[in-house]
Symmetry: C2
Subunit: 700 residues, 2 copies
Amino acid sequence: MKVSTQGLAAKDGPVPVRDLTDHGEEMIERLLAEAKGRLRQPDAGAEALRALIIGVLAAPEGNDPDAWMDLVVAGPGPALKERLASLKAELAAGDGVADDETPPGRRLADLRQELKRRGIDGFIVPRSDEHRGEYVPLRARRLSWLAGFTGTAGMAVVLPEIAALFTDGRYTLQAKAEVDAKLFLTLHSTERPAADWIGANLRPGHKVGFDPWLHTPDELSRLRAGCEKAGGELVACEDNPIDAVWSRQPPAPIAPIVAQEDAFAGKGSAEKRTEIAGQLMADGVDAAVLTLPASIAWLLNIRGGDVAYAPLPLAFAILGADAHVALFLDRRKLTPGLDAHLGDEVRIEDMDRFGPALEALGGEARKVRADPATAPAWVFDRLGAAGANIVKADDPCALPKACKNPVELDGFRAAHLRDGAALVRFLAWLSAAAPKGTLSEIAAAERLEAFRRENDHFRGLSFPTISAAGPNGAIVHYQPSAKTNRTIEPASMYLLDSGAQYLDGTTDVTRTLFIGNGGARPSPEQRANFTRVLKGHIALATARFPRGTSGSQLDTLARQALWRAGLDYDHGTGHGVGAYLGVHEGPQRIAKAPNTVALMPGMVISNEPGYYKQGAYGIRIESLVTVRMSDANPGEERQMLEFETLTWAPIDLALVEVDLLGTEEIAWLDAYHAGVREALSPSLDRETLAWLADATRPLR
Amino acid sequence: MKVSTQGLAAKDGPVPVRDLTDHGEEMIERLLAEAKGRLRQPDAGAEALRALIIGVLAAPEGNDPDAWMDLVVAGPGPALKERLASLKAELAAGDGVADDETPPGRRLADLRQELKRRGIDGFIVPRSDEHRGEYVPLRARRLSWLAGFTGTAGMAVVLPEIAALFTDGRYTLQAKAEVDAKLFLTLHSTERPAADWIGANLRPGHKVGFDPWLHTPDELSRLRAGCEKAGGELVACEDNPIDAVWSRQPPAPIAPIVAQEDAFAGKGSAEKRTEIAGQLMADGVDAAVLTLPASIAWLLNIRGGDVAYAPLPLAFAILGADAHVALFLDRRKLTPGLDAHLGDEVRIEDMDRFGPALEALGGEARKVRADPATAPAWVFDRLGAAGANIVKADDPCALPKACKNPVELDGFRAAHLRDGAALVRFLAWLSAAAPKGTLSEIAAAERLEAFRRENDHFRGLSFPTISAAGPNGAIVHYQPSAKTNRTIEPASMYLLDSGAQYLDGTTDVTRTLFIGNGGARPSPEQRANFTRVLKGHIALATARFPRGTSGSQLDTLARQALWRAGLDYDHGTGHGVGAYLGVHEGPQRIAKAPNTVALMPGMVISNEPGYYKQGAYGIRIESLVTVRMSDANPGEERQMLEFETLTWAPIDLALVEVDLLGTEEIAWLDAYHAGVREALSPSLDRETLAWLADATRPLR
């Protein structure tokens, strides 16, 4: 997938909050009585159980809606499970996590009053949470609560008389649709950066507050310059003023944390910790602060479920040069046996011990590594004030996490076989269903999800499916909603970008199809543009490059055919993909913007050039690839790298203009299609196989 | 040319210094008497005249060896010229600028003693001068004086008991050959950066000195970190301790500064100044400090001759937001009429007024722009200490200078017609001369220079010619010397990288030839590798790309064919070229390393992929190109840019393996060769034309 928006979609959405009914109180008491002696928190009373379940309601439901019950009683029996399910339903209906019915104007006014009370004049509301996740838990959706904007990137600035929402080009239309123009100006964040706008609109002497948990030091230096330009001041708030006025703010999410078994992780946590600690030691660094849940999950071989679409446990950690880890999280999330999995070298601490732990490092004048591009300013402030010697450097887990080990790569390959089979079953089904002209975007996405759900190790989607008919395909971050849902019309283009999380790997694939109806053919322009995108895809898929080459250096290969025709696309060409972690991960990236991270063997990255004709159609062809050593031919002087394509799914031949392809490009496409047949045939029924044989017929 | 080394080559080299003879004294007195009343410095006595001529001797001789005489008397007659020439010869023979006969060990010991006297323990000796030029005047060759190393990039660090010379990969062999290993370790500057080495070798409490004129703030922060890591300190020296012990250090060079006429410059200085001042004003900046001679020469439409190969006047300048300029230089360099050319808005000041002028800006708390990547730390220190509000940003002339105006582009085209004709005359001559097997690299280079010298507006070479036979071609920065001079053997490869300065433009072209001898043919490997380099050259020459694209994004196009064969080259693919200024200029660049400067219409840049087989041969194909708008075909959505090739010279067809070229590549080569014939035919004699017709015969 290209980029991901996330609305308050059904499974992941808010649950009404009301007071607990008498009936609910009664249910809790009965349950406590029955579970007595087996409770995982032995002295937990009604209030604790209620809080736990409300935390569960503040997390996405996940693939196994009963998994949370293990947090109450290890291995509950059927009767207890039924009771727990009823209680959760009761709390969801009568209490729990709720939509706030306060009208947007009131929310803004309440915030301004709170600011006044604190003696500050403005406040900055980013979309980010403390962990810089692409998906944030309900509790952290402050920007959505305040301004109604639900995109995955944006920032509001509230001043005494005016307020503005800043979003990038992907979200300008969505922002205008979602946000009340009487309350917020909506501005383009690159044409009119927030810092500049503050510089022009803040009154001299005025103070603008920010929450130091929600900004990196790099971000703050720009915002501070804007305030100072206006003769104002940027000031840190001890606690977030939105939390003070958002009366129905959900609690932090509680989703079970489970072990990621070595059979999938490929390397034990102790070995990972020892390797990275060795690097810290070599650099003379005493400890590294980890604030990204994906890094912590990778390092400790654990997975969670606190946010949608990625199995992440929200937590902080400090890795010492002795390979020991202090892990800061809500202990209630730990499933039975997880302590043993983590072992003696991982000390579990409550979230509120994170600050004191940073201060202790400072008090001992330790040399502490933290990442100024991802860690909250709060971390640096706390370390700095306590006297730590801060080493600003990237998250030490980022690069080793990106370079998958052989077991992880085998997992990716296996997951892609299953995922490809599900997609091909869907495509075969679609080829019969869509020409009838009654299938909606949402119905198609649901059908595809159902096929995937049948797969082993399926754990959910890896992002909201982009099922985009006709002109909706030209909206790069489109996600169908009840409001926008189009029928997939015969004789039109259909763009489908989807992926899944499996225990052994994460998938992300885009195919663009021409929906036939017996006779219709795509227009010459559609075929030519599809073929140009395909040429870019093939150029990247077949690239060879020396060690040290970054994704930025390869990006142009994917665009060259489009550029020759005066066309281009306004998104990156490839993003890293985690191993049953986030579908977007760094540090490598294929894009126009400079990135100095070399592509290294084992990295998994997407290959997804596209073309978008506004109001008409969109084209994107995306497969995941992994970097591997390239076999040397005689006379070669340097070790070259190349890509192995992991994704198996046919590329729509109806859209290919063979005359625009060179001999080698045709050979690649035929070989790829032969690979698709070979890879997927064992898992497909005869009818699907017949469809696949035609869909992958050789061109030459 | 790729990169340039500069030894103490003949014309540019040191001149012996001895005391003035009686005969010399007598000559000066007679000359002063004769020129009385016409002297440009009316009250100049013998000492002033002697100092002027010694300054002239400390500058390169230049294309017109008598031009300096205008600095004594405007338009001297033949008799006076003869006297002046004799006097200069007398001073050169008996006095003037000299080679220092102090042995290297003594120099290093003298420096250490001087450091001790000053209470410091070490000193850093960079190759750079105050103006960060690729070529530096004799006076600034401190690294060469101290360590004997004559490459264009390097740095020595002297500590009490050890000293080290740091050079990049280009110069490791040369450094080992030139430097006394008993005095200096020679280290690779990327594998063992100077800052790291200092960190490991400096004793706690020790002080390392540096000359703040010779380092940028960016450089110093790394060196400072190294010193502090070792518990030492980096301290600025008021004046350079090498200057204190280099008894025969030449004076600053004195070369005539002349106007660059509007007919070549295309835009008056007032207009340039107004445009850039407008930008400063818009940014709220009061003044910009200019320390790069090329920027000052461009801004004021002047040219000088203080260093070799580029017509640069060593000077500093301050451009105000009112479009006025304070120009700091040695007034003796001004030719008659230059004051009028500069006009009232350019105030000429002595060099020693530069510091007070910076302090005055600080005293008024002005907002002053300076470039931390090119301006000396001294400038920032002076501004900062005086209270200026320093805005760190790039040199404001860099980008407008890089985007040539239509008159400059026409000049480039005209210069390339003349330069191409000279090169073709040479190549035709070479095709007859070389097969005899007696021609040396140096003789070939001299013959080519002689052809160029006949051209209108010729002002000298733009860099030392790389005339490299056989295995010498694989040494990327090769320059023939008496010691290395090889015979150009029949049946071998010959790489020729050369260029010239013309009043209307600067050239830089590389062609690689197979020297025939009747029957010999290049090997299949040589043809294949040449053709791969050619494919890269063509891919870049024919690239189309949207506005905003940087050279880094295009670099891979030039390497792709080599990468497919497991080959690569270890240098950039394209450098900017000045308009009768430096042959290497920024800010644009085509290279693997990230560079965010977009290629813009009017920029001139080289297209020079290569391949080097150690000990065997080198291949490089280089033409200059300019960026222009690309005509749009129907259906195109975005304004595309493309390159226009400026260089006209045949590409050796004997080295082309036609089977490795695609149809479009063959079409490009045939069209280019037809262009060469069309462009150059009017200036060539019949015999050369016949040679050219064969050398450019169509492949299809």
